[in-house]
Symmetry: C2
Amino acid sequence: MFKKRLLTPGPTPIPEEVRLAMARDMIHHRKDEFKKVMHNVLNDLRYLFCTENPVLPLSCSGTGAMTAAVNNLFSPGEKVIVVEAGKFGRRWSDIAQARGLEVIALPLEWGAAVDPADVENVLSRWSDISGLLIQASETSTGVLHPGRELAAMCRKHNILSVVDGISAVGISPCPMDEWGIDCLLTGSQKGLMLPPGLAFIALSDAAWEKARKTKPRDFYFDLPREREKNASDQTLFTSPVNLVLGLEQVMRIFKSRGLEAVFAKQRALTAMVRAGVQAMGLDLLVRDFYTLGLTSVSLPPGIDGIKLLETAAREHGVYMAGGQEHLKGRIVRIGHMGYVDFGDLLAGLHALRCSLESCGGHCGSRDYLERAMAAYHQELQTKNQ
Amino acid sequence: MFKKRLLTPGPTPIPEEVRLAMARDMIHHRKDEFKKVMHNVLNDLRYLFCTENPVLPLSCSGTGAMTAAVNNLFSPGEKVIVVEAGKFGRRWSDIAQARGLEVIALPLEWGAAVDPADVENVLSRWSDISGLLIQASETSTGVLHPGRELAAMCRKHNILSVVDGISAVGISPCPMDEWGIDCLLTGSQKGLMLPPGLAFIALSDAAWEKARKTKPRDFYFDLPREREKNASDQTLFTSPVNLVLGLEQVMRIFKSRGLEAVFAKQRALTAMVRAGVQAMGLDLLVRDFYTLGLTSVSLPPGIDGIKLLETAAREHGVYMAGGQEHLKGRIVRIGHMGYVDFGDLLAGLHALRCSLESCGGHCGSRDYLERAMAAYHQELQTKNQ
């Protein structure tokens, strides 16, 4: 009766050419055929991250790359600021504490973006802070933090800006060198349209200098040694070969479209979903500073968000995500990152409307789909003028 | 003119049904469809490891699982014995040192298996040793260490036996509970016939007790928390979904054949390759205690092993591995683990013969292939009697 549509903020659907590339039989990770692929992707990843510095692939989930960042850039006892605007902000604190760092947390209401003045305030009170750990976009809410301002502020105070770009790289602009970010990382399963299992991390010159001095380093996530090995188009330990073969195809897609076109599509999809949801009479969790990869919808009181998601999946084949921790059951997160287009989101918005009503809610409009599409076209036109 | 044949000791070729399962479009790692798959593979992995305890999948290479073992079982300052019989024995020492452990190394000539008496000797001299780190089989040479005896000795001395089974699990018998191994781990890309990127680790009750007390734990590789999450058929961080889908197929193969049949095939292939190589007049690096997954061949003086491997790949499509570190260029390692059969190895032995001759070497027999096959059939018959 209907297809399955994955509209979660990661993992995201995978283009057919990528899936077929990954289905090839094994090739060896230390032989020339693979090294040629690795050579190309290492080059292309710098385009994706908008950096002149190397981008290192790691065999792990995004959290592995976050652990790699903390363990390579900071030694036990150092002090870092963590912006805790959701589940993944808190994860920074957990990782930093496991490393023995002293965490100065800036907790925010879930759905709020950090105000740079609050960070500046902490920086002016303490003289011995080593870094700021933040999300480019907080996947648990859909908030977009002011990455450019924060990175500039870190430069000014001579501390490292460490940015989790897991739901931003290839989705929402985050140009590493232009903004002066010291560490940017991401995973394979969101903007990169690949299965999970591969992560990426890049450091600025200042961050490399710090990493080389940091001891003891993590054995598995040893970035200076990894960088050295990458110079011969290999990874330090066995590469996840098939994911790298898929990545080669993904990079072809990014290069043939261009990053700007991807961001334009993301802006149009974001405008579309926000307009559709608001036309239904639902509230958006994030008002002003929102990412281009997902839209969080606050459910009216009395609506069981878990039942709503189950209904959307069972009755319409649409898989969306719910809230995490205290937002569980209270919000719906609609993913629109990676290999997702307006048609998928029309299905998604319609599934949301039907599931809302079958859970006792009310949709305040009959033309929410058309209004969503109008916002989509409007955004694309604005871009083209 | 010819097919490509991957005869390296990992990664290994991938069966078609596994590749096709991995080529499916993405499903979400926190939804029911995936949890059902995870439920099955978590169950099946215990059959593979021959243990009643849980086997934890980790998103990393085999070295990641080795790091997980050390960082969860030992705290900085503890003392461990490491059997350094090759490149991967040394890796145990590197990982242990990165964790701040005191390493008592037992270095061996590459190609030799450890004598349990030497370990006993160390154990009797020191009273404060916490563990023994060893390979079931040392992939850089093809040696098989006496796992059963060593595990029993560790039990007697009340220290933890930590076994890297990366080139053993699903290849060479290593029954965890029967032998009393405290920690057994492996990777996806050898006996498990999958791409690299997934690793597995299991602990005994004593090891779990130690892991729970070990602080600070590694954030990414936190085995007690991971075990807790596995109880709900999920992993702590994002699962490498497609590899897990492939694993489900792999476990179907193992269960339909039975582990004993896999080991019987491995014994026959090992007998075949050893007989063929010896019929050519070449020396085996490992005489007595050899694994069932790979055969290392010592090249005669004057033969350039690197050129030989290049010739075999270019002229015959056969990809074998060379020696590592000081054995580079001096040995050939023929992998015969995973999805490899006698036909692949006939091609491999013939490619070895031709490449040897084109590098100036000499093959001492015209019936080396037939003698290899005789040994293969002989071994299979012995098993059936």
